[in-house]
């Protein structure tokens, strides 16, 4: 369960962005839609605790993450939040396997094996990130995001670099994994194709205007 109230964020010297209140139950998905530059990624980073809001509150499972100290929120994120990026980031010098068990809060080898099987990357584990195709990289990125059995999965433009076939595939994987982990899934995107896949959707531009 994720809830936000009156979230605001201001980059220095600019008008604060006011973000809509959202509420996502465990196992459900929310699509935050918006053109680039409207504050989607900022919203996502606020939810992930990578940035501090200038106002408002975020609750994840009744924990107010806006009250946490920097080190508390780092730990909380490591333990409870999985993030999927537009271009999956990897430690280039490490194999896919080592990238999966990278987090200090997600080191179970058994789990890594099960997840990689589920996402069909179990035959890629000994390879290095730059030896994988974009689709394979995205699957590996999702696998790493769920390694810590997150309560919240955040996805930042997960499909914008993918063709239609891979797009559907990745979305289905994200939905499947959020159900598997009983996690709330929040996707921010400007990819129209996703609107048909996920019913629950907020248009950030209109929502911001409304607020």
């Amino acid at each position: 369960m994720v809830k936000t109230y009156d979230l605001k964020y201001a980059y220095s010297k600019s008008e604060p962005i006011v973000l809509p209140d959202i509420q996502v139950k465990a196992g459900e998905a929310l699509l935050i839609y918006g053109e680039s530059g409207c504050g989607k990624t900022t919203f996502l980073h606020l939810l992930a605790g990578l940035r501090r809001p200038t106002g408002g509150q975020i609750f994840i499972e009744d924990n107010n993450t806006t009250n946490m100290s920097f080190s508390q929120i780092d730990r909380y994120r490591g333990q409870n939040i999985g993030i999927v990026y537009q271009q999956p980031y990897f430690i280039e010098s490490l194999s896919i396997w080592d990238n999966l068990v990278l987090s200090p809060f997600a080191t179970s080898k058994k789990k890594a094996r099960a997840i990689s099987k589920r996402l069909h990357i179990d035959d890629l584990l000994t390879r290095y990130p730059n030896q994988l195709s974009t689709g394979q990289q995205q699957r590996a990125g999702i696998a790493r995001a769920v390694m810590n059995s997150p309560k919240l999965i955040l996805a930042d433009e997960p499909t914008s670099n993918l063709d239609n076939k891979n797009c559907t595939h990745v979305i289905n994987l994200l939905l499947e994994e959020s159900r598997n982990n009983n996690a709330a899934l929040i996707i921010v995107t400007h990819d129209d194709r996703l609107r048909s896949e996920i019913g629950n959707c907020i248009d950030l531009k209109t929502a911001v205007n409304k607020a």
């Binding site: 990624t41 900022t42 980073h45 992930a48 990578l50 940035r51 080190s71 780092d74 730990r75 994120r77 490591g78 333990q79 993030i83 990026y85 537009q86 271009q87 980031y89 990897f90 430690i91 280039e92 010098s93 490490l94 080592d98 068990v101 990278l102 987090s103 200090p104 809060f105 997600a106 080191t107 790493r144 810590n148 930042d156």
Partner: protein, 429 residues
């Protein structure tokens, strides 16, 4: 996991890493090698000193006298009259006086005529055979025996002077009667015999008369109270071997090693010898210190060069880590987003610097050992000096210095890594 990332990163950019490590390696290698040589030289020089308080020999350079009479590294300054030497050896402040007579060599090793006291002074022990008792009998030091491959009973000829290809004394063969155990002192590199042997090789035309031989024997007996077994023996047989006639006045030895009864009472002795006789007295401890002071100037120069290399190495590590930081910004942000703390990222970069330092140190250590091996071979050929590759004092400091360089040079990159702005880094690209 941090350790794994450090290691994988080092081998991920092998050329960058090799550069850093090479610089450290040469710095550490040179400094360690210098330390090894300096330490072992000093150790060897002080060990060979064996509390000799004073060296008396012919006038000339005191350093040369010490190098020649104690270390057998230089030519003698000349000879001194036995009668004059006798006066000093019998002086009441003298506790022990060992006469030395030399001038010949065998395979580049010096043939030294002396009393058995000399061998005792360096704790020489016979391993094979027995002590020399008669003229033209020789006992070989461990190194000499090894390189000459002689066994007891073998016969060899001395060469006049120090050069390997000088005049060979064909008509005066020495017989090997004993071989000494290794002592790691100057003893290992000497061929030892009694003083009569040296005399008889060099007095072709004159016969040594018995009373002179008696003189040196009685002299030994006077001075060495503790042990005399060998000398008694020598005394009985010594006479028969002298072929030549020589008057007591013209009998010569090369130097005397003196030990005082008390250091205080002997302050005047060197001055008296230097001013009132045509011999000179040299204080070995003083001369050795002077020698090391002179060597030290050269050593300092090389040390400065090695220090410069170490500094470059530190800068190299800094540049490599700092440059890679730009490419690795995303990786660092990713590490933060999966739960690593800023302190852990700081540690990651410090560990990388440390890893370079430790690898560089280990390889440098290896290089210094390979270096000392080859230098030892050369020094053995040129000066009969041997170096070993054992750990010496001060190597711990070099290790600490290298580690410190590793840490210092990764400090700024580590600080930067800690301060990476995760959110804005991850929203780029």
């Amino acid at each position: 996991m941090l350790g794994k990332i450090v290691w994988k990163n080092i081998i991920y950019k092998p050329l960058n890493s090799a550069l850093c490590i090479c610089l450290l390696l040469f710095g550490v290698g040179i400094i360690t090698l210098l330390l090894l040589i300096q330490n072992q030289l000093e150790q060897k020089f002080h060990r060979d000193l064996k509390n000799v308080d004073l060296v008396v020999g012919a006038k000339g350079s005191p350093l040369q006298l010490v190098l020649s009479a104690i270390y057998h590294l230089d030519a003698p300054t000349g000879n001194i009259k036995l009668a004059e030497a006798h006066k000093i050896m019998n002086n009441p402040v003298v506790k022990e006086a060992i006469p030395l007579a030399y001038g010949d060599s065998y395979m580049g090793y010096r043939i030294l005529g002396t009393t058995w006291d000399y061998i005792n002074k360096y704790d020489g022990q016979i391993v094979v055979g027995e002590a020399y008792t008669e003229s033209m009998e020789a006992v070989l030091g461990a190194d000499v025996a090894e390189s000459a491959e002689h066994k007891v009973g073998d016969v060899f000829h001395g060469t006049h002077g120090e050069a390997r290809n000088g005049h060979v004394h064909e008509d005066h063969p020495y017989t090997v009667v004993g071989i000494l155990q290794e002592t790691n002192t100057v003893l290992d590199r000497l061929v030892l015999c009694n003083i009569e042997s040296v005399w008889s090789v060099h007095s072709h035309d004159k016969e040594v008369n018995h009373s002179d031989v008696d003189t040196i024997h009685s002299l030994e007996l006077d001075l060495n109270h503790e042990h005399d077994h060998d000398h008694h023996h020598a005394h009985e047989h010594g006479h028969n071997h002298s072929k030549a006639v020589q008057t007591a006045d013209s009998m010569e030895i090369t130097a005397i090693l003196l030990k005082y009864k008390s250091k205080m009472s002997a302050l005047r002795m060197p001055r008296i010898i230097n001013e009132q006789t045509n011999m000179q007295a040299a204080l070995p401890a003083l001369e050795v210190n002077r020698l090391f002071y002179m060597i030290g100037v050269g050593v300092t120069t090389i040390e400065l060069i090695a220090g410069g290399i170490m500094l470059m190495a530190g800068l190299g590590v800094f540049f490599v880590l700092f440059n890679r930081l730009r490419e690795r910004k995303y990786e660092l942000a990713l590490l933060r987003s999966v739960g690593y703390s800023p302190i852990q990222l700081f540690l990651l970069l410090i560990l990388e610097g440390l890893a370079f330092a430790i690898i560089g140190y280990l390889l440098g250590w290896l290089l210094s050992r390979i270096g000392i091996h080859f230098i030892s071979i050369k020094a053995q050929n040129d000066f009969n000096l041997k170096f070993n590759w054992e750990l010496v004092q001060g190597e711990g400091w070099i290790f600490l210095l290298t580690v410190l360089i590793g840490i210092l040079s990764s400090l700024i990159p580590a600080w930067r890594a800690m301060k990476v702005d995760v959110s804005s880094t991850l929203s780029q690209k």
